[in-house]
Symmetry: C2
Subunit: 191 residues, 2 copies
DNA sequence: TAATATGGAATGAACGTTCATTCCGTATTA
DNA sequence: TAATACGGAATGAACGTTCATTCCATATTA
């Protein structure tokens, strides 16, 4: 019987190594060593490296959703929802920097491009929380009359860029700074 | 005598292939074929792949400076300077999408991290145009009282993110959209 | 001028290394 | 004991880089 905890060890090891060294700097053999399993064992849990990478991404997405959604309500005012999601995202990434770096690696690769194409153009059954927020912001005329994707860029661009600098140690993001950046982003998207 | 145009061909080929396939998806052999030279010839012009990659980045930086600086004056009002640089940067990247993608690849790699560390922490002799703009904006109390790097993130985060979506074909950045995004970024950084 | 010699640029096959993946003998489980 | 999981050596493909050789523009010679 395949053990779930061995699978988790492999995923954890892959996350750590890929976050630090990138996809090409994290060979399967190295992942195996860090996970404390044989190289061949990985292939009992994941068909190949691509599958492992994509699986890791999917689980990460779930983890993020679980982290940011509690306390979030589409009934609240747009501005409050915006601040909630932005702040929680910042907090998540600061608490889990390896996860942030993994996401960065993923998005800046063919994996990420393909995934994003699916998400934006594809007919997803359940709409993204963020999509929904910007749609509502537009409908209520609280946000600037810009394409939703642009509103996206205006709030997540600074988030990602500043997180990167935080992780590299160039700036330090404490709660106050997070709040001020979020406010500045709001100034950017609000009408 | 080593021919400059052969060197240029190699740089051009490397730019195209790395922009499209990433550092690891662009083998030297492939670069050689596209440049129309023998594989070994590259090593007559560049010590190794790392040197080639860094040289390409440095030339790209020069090209950008030459593109955005004409018509720019530190004597003008902060807001005008901000709009000038942002707009020119957008235009450059839209006109030269391969260059944008190369920059992206570079920044999301150990090359970029090392480079950025030097630039931010190092004692550069000449100050960056952008650094200077934000310093002036702070001094004149026109911009929000935030660390310079944060102001940076607030304006370049959206630029980079929206350029990425533009290149992937998810949005279309025309002059009007550029202006509106730049305005929104200004709303983000202005006091 | 014609014929030959020279030296550096260009070449691409070959090398050593690294990697993802497979294979199979052993250990573990039921 | 039979079936399944495991480990890590083996494999072959792909890569960056090297180097013995070829090519060619120029210099030298007769």
């Amino acid at each position: 019987m395949l053990k779930p905890d061995k699978r988790d060890e492999i995923l954890r090891a892959a996350l750590e190594l890929i976050a630090e060294y990138g996809f090409h700097g994290a060979p399967m053999a190295m992942i195996a060593v860090r996970a404390g399993v044989g190289a061949g064992t990985i292939y009992r849990y994941f068909e190949n490296k691509d599958v492992l990478i994509n699986e890791l991404y999917r689980e990460l997405e779930d983890k993020i959703r679980e982290y940011i959604l509690p306390g979030y309500s589409t009934e609240r005012p747009i501005r409050e929802r915006f601040v909630h999601l932005n702040t929680k995202l910042f907090r998540f990434f600061i608490e889990f920097p390896l996860q942030f770096r993994y996401l960065e690696q993923f998005h800046n690769s063919p994996y990420g491009a393909a995934y994003r194409r699916d998400k934006i153009l594809g007919e997803s059954d359940e709409k993204d929380v963020f999509m929904r927020l910007f749609e509502d912001g537009l409908a209520q005329q609280v946000m600037k009359d810009l394409p939703i994707l642009i509103l996206f860029c205006l709030s997540f661009g600074p988030l990602i860029t500043s997180m990167r600098d935080h992780i590299l140690g160039f700036i330090s993001l404490d709660d106050i700074m997070i709040e001020r950046i979020t406010e500045a982003c709001w100034d950017g998207v609000k009408r």
